[in-house]
Symmetry: C2
DNA sequence: GTGACTTTGTGCATCGGTTCACAAAGGGAT
DNA sequence: ATCCCTTTGTGAACCGATGCACAAAGTCAC
C-alpha cells in the first residue's frame, strides 16, 4: 500500500499512541541517570507494561532496536518524540482560570514536553488582567483574537460545565481542532475535531466501585484481580 | 455458577464500569430538568456513546428498563449509584497540597458524588497548618494517624514525582487499597491494591500526535478519522 | 381485548488489542 | 571465522469489547 522503503507504517493503533508518552517518560528518566541502552524487558518494567506489548508498540514506529542488545535510549527518545509531534513547540491556551486552570498554568509537566502555555483566558473581570504563571489573563471577548495572534493550536477547557460548549464552538470556529476538556460535559464537535476529556470524579468513582467490591463481605464474589 | 435468582451478574466488564459515571452524570442532568423517563437512544446521545453499547452496559447491572418506554431516570440513578458504591460516603485524603492538590480540594465534582475530602496532608512546613477548602493541612509525619483517625479509604496523590512512591507505600501500610495518582511516576504496589493514574501531559501528547497528522501536509496519509 | 407501535435486551459476527512463543538477527568470546 | 548467547520483531492464537439486527416484551389507542 504505502511506499515499502518507508520503515514506519502510518497506522499506529490508538492504544499504542496512548502508551508512547509513558515510554517517553521512562526513557527520559533513564537518560538522566546516564543509561545509554535499555532492553525491552527493563523499559517495560519502568513503564509498567509487559515487554511483549512494549516491543509490539515500538515495532509500529519502525525497527529501532538492536537484537541481542536493546534500544539506544537517546535515539528512541528522539524517535518517539518525533512520532508524537513533540519535536515542535505547541502553543496551548487555557480557557477558564479557576482553581484548576491556575494549577494547569503552573504545571511543569507541560513545558517539559514541548507545550507552551501561550494564553490564559477567563470571563471573570476579577481575574482578567491578573498575572498568573507569568502570563496576563485575557478577557473571553478576546478569545478568537488571542488564539489567532498567538498561533494556539490546542485549547484546554477548564471552564465551568455550563460555559464549555460555547467556548468549544468558538475556538473551533477559528480553526482549533484539538481540545482537552476538563469540564464535566460531553462536547459535541464536528468531524475532524479531536476532544480528549479528563474527569477527575470519574476516576474516583471507578476506584469506589472496586473498593466496594473488595470491602464487600460475604455476598461478594471473591475476585482476586 | 452464581445464584440464578439474582438478576445482577457480578462480573461487570471494566469498560462498562468506566462508562457508568458518564451515564450517571447525564442522568443527573436529566433529573434536574425534570425528565422522568428516558430511552436508551436519548441517554446514549447525552452521554456521547451509541445506544447499543449503552443498553449492553446497563444489561450488565440487571433489567431496569421497560420495553416500549425506556428507563426511569430516578430509579436508574439509584441503581448505577449503588453499583458504583456511591450510596455510601467515601473519605478521601489528598496528599500533596501544591497547585494541583489545592485545586482538587476545592473541586466540587467530588463532593457531589459521595466523596468527602477528609484530610489534606503535605510535607512543606509553610503549608502545614493552613486552612484550605475548610480543612486544616496536616503534616506528612501524621499521615498514617490521620488516615486511620478519619477512616480514609481512598488516597489521592498530588505530590511531586519523587515523593509519590514513599507516600504510596506508607498509605498501603495502613490498609489503603485505592489510590488515585497524579504524580508522573509508575507506582509499584502489591496485589490487591488499585491504582488509577491521571497524567495531564499524556493527554496533551496524544492530542499533539493527532494534531501533527492533521497538519502533516503531503507526506501524510490522508486519514479521515 | 386486540393490534400497531415502541423500545429493550441479547445472540452473533467482527474488530482491535494482548499475549505467547519462536525464528531471525546481531554481539562477543574464543 | 565460528559458535553461543541475548534480545528483538512478529505470526498466530486468544480475549474482551463493539455494533448490528432482531425477537421478546411491554405500552397505548380504540
Amino acid at each position: 500500500m504505502k511506499s515499502p522503503s518507508q520503515p514506519r507504517d502510518r497506522g499506529i493503533p490508538e492504544a499504542t499512541v496512548a502508551r508512547l508518552p509513558l515510554y517517553l517518560r521512562a526513557l527520559h528518566g533513564m537518560a538522566e541517570r546516564g543509561i545509554a541502552t535499555v532492553s525491552s524487558e527493563d523499559l517495560a518494567a519502568a513503564a509498567g507494561v509487559n515487554s511483549a506489548k512494549l516491543r509490539k508498540d515500538l515495532s509500529h514506529l519502525g525497527s529501532y532496536g538492536t537484537r541481542g542488545v536493546g534500544y539506544d535510549v537517546e535515539y528512541l527518545v528522539y524517535q518517539i518524540s518525533r512520532e508524537l509531534g513533540l519535536t515542535q513547540d505547541w502553543a496551548v491556551a487555557i480557557v477558564g482560570v479557576g482553581n484548576l486552570g491556575r494549577a494547569l498554568a503552573n504545571y511543569g509537566g507541560f513545558v517539559s514536553r514541548g507545550f507552551r502555555v501561550a494564553a490564559l483566558v477567563d470571563a471573570d473581570p476579577e481575574i482578567v488582567g491578573d498575572t498568573i504563571a507569568g502570563l496576563n489573563v485575557e478577557h473571553i471577548d478576546e478569545l478568537e483574537a488571542v488564539i489567532k495572534r498567538r498561533g494556539v493550536s490546542i485549547v484546554v477547557l477548564a471552564t465551568p460545565a455550563a460555559a464549555a460548549q460555547e467556548v468549544c464552538d468558538r475556538v473551533i470556529g477559528v480553526g482549533v481542532t484539538s481540545i482537552l476538556n476538563f469540564a464535566p460535559v460531553v462536547l459535541s464537535v464536528p468531524e475532524g475535531v479531536d476532544v480528549r476529556k479528563v474527569d477527575l470524579s470519574i476516576e474516583l468513582q471507578i476506584l469506589a466501585f472496586h473498593e466496594q467490591r473488595k470491602a464487600g463481605g460475604p455476598l461478594m464474589a471473591v475476585d482476586g484481580q
